[in-house]
């Protein structure tokens, strides 16, 4: 039974530069109890469509079309009626839970509010909601708070009685998103809209939240609209998918059909941008160009300008919506041409840069797939040498090395507190050895709070280790304050969020030239070098005079990369370089990183919580948990046959468009570095933990070229091998359970 029908909706924003047609004729239906995905790049109009449905599209205006919700056209009712639908009938969950929860109220209060609204949506009194004594109905609030605890339990928040009084900053991101879910569920809505519900979360947390959404739809018959730029996320939980571009739905259909036989060139492009386990180190297919800042709104297909099948007809005439299969519709003029391009080998990317025939996984190809490398050391690496510190002859000496590095933070922030005996410390990085050899790419993976970024800061000298030392080229180096100009120039850094790491007031040219200026280059040389760098990172010269707010996220990250390589460093450290970006942009940037490494002979350290990214770029990986490296070794080996249960669990959590199996999930959040668990740090969350894990800290065990800190490394790895041999494409073996050990 259809619950929501969006018909030919147009939402526009009046800006100083003219009208922005954010949603431009989108149509969509959702049935009760169904999960529908809405996919598209940033700027394609997904969020505005969602906000139009909830009625939060202000300052935009709905100028045309209808939103039929359970028989009522929401575009045709008064603002106060619209308000009554919000929360009670249609609820929404937003992208960043830590930003959507009000930081100054505890979660119990925020859930109780939602319950109160649902109870009595017309009689909201400000004094009552502000808990003014005597005016406020205390007993009712108390009842709602008790209900809130039940709801928290329902969405999977452990110890809800304790957590009900917690403030958002005291909870992890995943916990906050669950609280948001509880708020949304409090109103017992018929439709739940989740706008990028997991984009701000760890892979492990993402998997659990998506499970929750699925259960919810199944149990309560709630319809769910999941919005994401990531096809993997949507594929993981949706019955049907709609693909949006330029404010229009260009293709929609059942998830399976869309994944198996995508028709629209845009859908194909998005799918091909996804990183796959079997990608090896190939250049990734990309979608040419970027989403334009505004669409002209004239006739024609919005994708025509980026589409390799585009004809004059596409520019001139709106494509008709064609039904191409059961419940599968697509709006494209050139379907025949697109299909003609199909061959069993070519997955059909519209991009010119796609190599024909994306290779399927084939272990024998693993070496040939590797990029040609000047020193040829990679082949040796891949042949399964352990990555422990103190490298040997065939690899030369490490260029960047951490030796027994520990970084602790005092939690007491004043002398008086310390005087009163507050001596709690947080161990962010705990006795880590890590060596990076010239020309290779080392990947560092782990959940948030595992200490990855702190380790990067120690290696780059942005922080000083509490104990241990960092060596560059065999020489101990201090922090940036102590390093020589040459040492500083030799290490470049790129951070996750370019909006935060680039001065918003400087022009791009000035940003890139800053390290040159610091080094004393004269203005002529600087200008020449900036031109060179812009070219290297694939930005046109005119971008030099732009300011950061005029650039997209992907372009800004290119600027950050240009700045990092300005002084021809030998090592570049990337801290989550593509996490904030769309899949299509991510593919472009990963290609850029590979090009730069090849052309400039760079050594990379890439930090990411995204295993697919690390798998794609890294020769060797180190897996970090609670400040320690629990597993390290050649990338293929670690990802194909993990020998630590933590690595296995991380792999398990990655949403896949090609597995429909229910995976085991990592339980609970990462513990705090203040109270580190005894024995093996992972034991409280480990699916195969034994009593010994609680008492003894595991030593390093070498399993087929991989170093693993697990008492049962052999078993974990061999379990992976059997899985792996059965299905070469499936990279994620089930973590062993206790019965089979």
């Amino acid at each position: 039974m259809t619950l929501l029908t969006v018909d030919n909706l147009h939402t526009r924003f009046e800006t100083n530069d003219g009208v922005v047609r954010a949603v431009d004729g989108a149509s969509l239906t959702i049935d009760r109890g169904e999960i529908v995905g809405l996919v598209g790049e940033s700027g394609s109009g997904k969020s505005v469509l969602a906000r139009s449905i909830v009625g939060l599209h202000s300052p935009g205006r709905i100028v045309e079309g209808a939103i039929d919700f359970d028989g009522v056209d929401l575009t045709d009712v008064s603002a106060s009626t619209r308000e009554r639908y919000r929360g009670t009938d249609i609820a929404m969950v937003f992208q960043d839970p830590t930003a959507t929860l009000n930081p100054v109220f505890d979660v119990g209060e925020q859930i109780a509010e939602s319950l109160r609204v649902h109870d009595d949506s017309s009689g909201q009194s400000l004094l009552d909601f502000c808990h003014v004594p005597l005016v406020s109905d205390r007993s009712r609030w108390r009842r709602h708070r008790e209900r809130a605890i039940e709801l928290m339990d329902q969405v999977g928040i452990a110890d809800p009685e304790d957590r009900v009084d917690a403030y958002p900053h005291e909870l992890s991101g995943g916990m906050c998103q669950r609280a948001m879910l509880a708020i949304a569920l409090a109103g017992d809505p018929d439709l739940l809209i989740a706008d990028e519900p997991t984009t701000a979360l760890d892979t492990t947390t993402q998997a659990r939240i998506l499970d929750q959404l699925r259960e919810l739809a199944a149990e309560t018959d709630t319809a769910v609209l999941v919005i994401s730029h990531d096809f993997g996320v949507v594929a993981d939980c949706c019955d049907r998918v709609a693909v949006m571009y330029g404010g229009e739905i260009v293709e929609r259909g059942p998830t399976d059909r869309l994944l198996e036989s995508p028709e629209h060139p845009y859908t194909r492009g998005l799918l091909s941008c996804l990183l796959r386990a079997d990608d090896g180190r190939d250049r990734l297919p990309t979608i040419d160009g970027t989403v334009p800042e505004r669409f002209d709104g004239g006739p024609g297909c919005p994708f025509a300008s980026r589409c390799s099948y585009g004809t004059d007809d596409c520019e001139r005439r709106d494509p008709a919506v064609r039904t191409v299969g059961p419940d599968h519709e697509v709006a494209c003029h050139e379907l025949e041409a697109v299909r003609a391009d199909d061959s069993p080998a070519a997955a059909g990317s519209p991009s010119e840069s796609t190599p024909p025939g994306r290779p399927r996984a084939d272990p024998s190809e693993s070496v040939t797939r590797d990029r040609a490398r000047a020193d040829g050391s990679r082949t040796i690496d891949a042949r399964g040498r352990s990555g422990s510190a103190g490298g040997s002859a065939d690899r030369g000496d490490p260029i960047l090395e951490a030796r027994g590095v520990t970084r602790t933070y005092d939690l007491a922030d004043s002398a008086i507190q310390r005087a009163f005996g507050d001596s709690r410390t947080l161990r962010a990085v705990d006795g880590v050895n890590l060596a990076v050899y010239p020309g290779e790419t080392v990947g560092l993976v782990g959940e948030s709070a595992s200490g990855k970024s702190t380790l990067a800061k120690l290696l780059t000298g942005l922080e000083a280790p509490s104990t241990g030392e960092v060596r560059f080229d065999g020489e101990p180096v201090g922090t940036v304050a102590d390093r020589t100009a040459d040492q500083l120039a030799d290490v470049g850094v790129v951070f996750q969020n370019p909006q935060g790491s680039i001065n918003p007031r400087q022009r791009v040219r000035e940003t890139i030239a800053e390290p040159l200026l610091e080094r004393g280059w004269d203005s002529e040389c600087r200008r020449e070098r900036v031109r060179e760098l812009l070219d290297l990172v694939g930005l046109a010269e005119r971008y030099g005079s732009r300011r950061p707010h005029q650039l997209s996220g992907g372009q800004l990250q290119r600027v950050a990369i240009a700045r990092a390589i300005a002084l021809e460093p030998r090592v570049v450290v990337f801290d989550e370089p593509v996490s904030a970006l769309d899949v299509s942009v991510r593919a472009q940037l990963l290609n850029l990183l590979a090009d730069l490494q090849r052309r400039l002979g760079l050594t990379y350290l890439v930090i990411s919580h995204d295993l697919d990214v690390v798998r794609h770029v890294a020769d060797r990986v180190a897996v970090m948990y609670l400040g320690e490296i629990v597993e390290r070794g050649p990338a293929e080996r670690v990802f194909d046959r993990p020998s630590h249960p933590y690595t296995a669990a991380l792999l398990e959590a990655v949403p896949r468009i090609d597995d429909g199996t229910d995976a085991t999930r990592l339980e609970g959040p990462i513990p705090s570095g203040v109270d580190v668990p005894s024995g093996c740090r992972f034991h409280p969350r480990c699916p195969i933990a034994e009593p010994v894990c609680e008492t003894d800290e595991p030593d390093s065990v070498a399993v087929g070229g991989v170093d693993s800190h697990c008492h049962f490394a052999q078993q974990v790895a061999s379990r992976g091998v059997t899985e792996d041999s059965e299905s070469p494409r499936d990279q994620s073996p089930d973590p062993p359970d206790t019965t089979t050990r």
């Binding site: 939060l56 919000r86 992208q95 930081p103 100054v104 948001m180 109103g187 939690l411 008086i416």
Partner: protein
Amino acid sequence: MYLLYRSLTATVVLLGASVLTFGLVYLTPGDSAETILIQQTGHQPSQEAVESFREEEGLNEPIPVQFVDWLGSALQGDLGQSYYSNRAVTELLVQHLPATIELAVASMAVALLVAIPTGVASAVHHGSSIDAGSQLVALVGVSMPNFWLGYLLIIVFALTLDLFPVAGTGGLSHLVLPAIALGTGMAAIVMRLVRTSMLEVIDREYVDGARAKGLRGRIVVYKHALRNALIPVVTVIGLQFAFVLNGAVVIEVVFQRPGLGTLLVDAIFARDYPVVQGVVLVIAVLFVVTNFLVDLTYHYLDPRISLGGGTR
């Protein structure tokens, strides 16, 4: 734990303030013993008189010893005698303090009652005529010297319309005009701050989140947005308290209210150092106490600001 920590820091601040206050006498030109005797007797004292006075008052002791003596008696509530009226300084302070506190509280109340709703309305109707109007009024309020506003108010509301008494103390009616005169400048500053702060907060995701729950606009604005917007405002209100005390000195003279301001001005003109010391010390204490309260309010408004303990 936190209270203990804060009291310790507050004590350090007060100790610093008392050193400065005590130092006042030594920083003033001339021999203090001589000055005091001239003021008490009205003629040039003999050398012996000065010597014996010094001996008597302990002025020959080393300065640190004198300070400890002074501090010891100050802690017992003895701030010495006024040179002029021969009354205990403490007694004078007790007599004048209530009028000033009354004025300070009333003007703060006037300022906040006007500033917060106007600032909120201004931000919510950003760019409208309400916004433009309140911005203009705020500009005028900030630019107008408070004593001049005080005289204007007296002329219009006391002399012409005869709604309120011209000066002096008494019931609430005596408080209205001085409170407005003193509160206006502060209201203007706070209003602008509330507006800016609200504008920053109103686009935050949690405001959308609150709307998405189905909460009414007023609750979204006054509960969810304002609570966050007030956090930076509270700091300024605390610091503005110094401004209010400064202003009180002038306003009390304008409205002839017998408060600390009047006492201080008179004492300065008369070189009545013990009284000056006492008033300055009381003002310092008031300031430290207010900011202590501000810190507590802070924690109430923003649970992320921890009271002692770790920051995580």
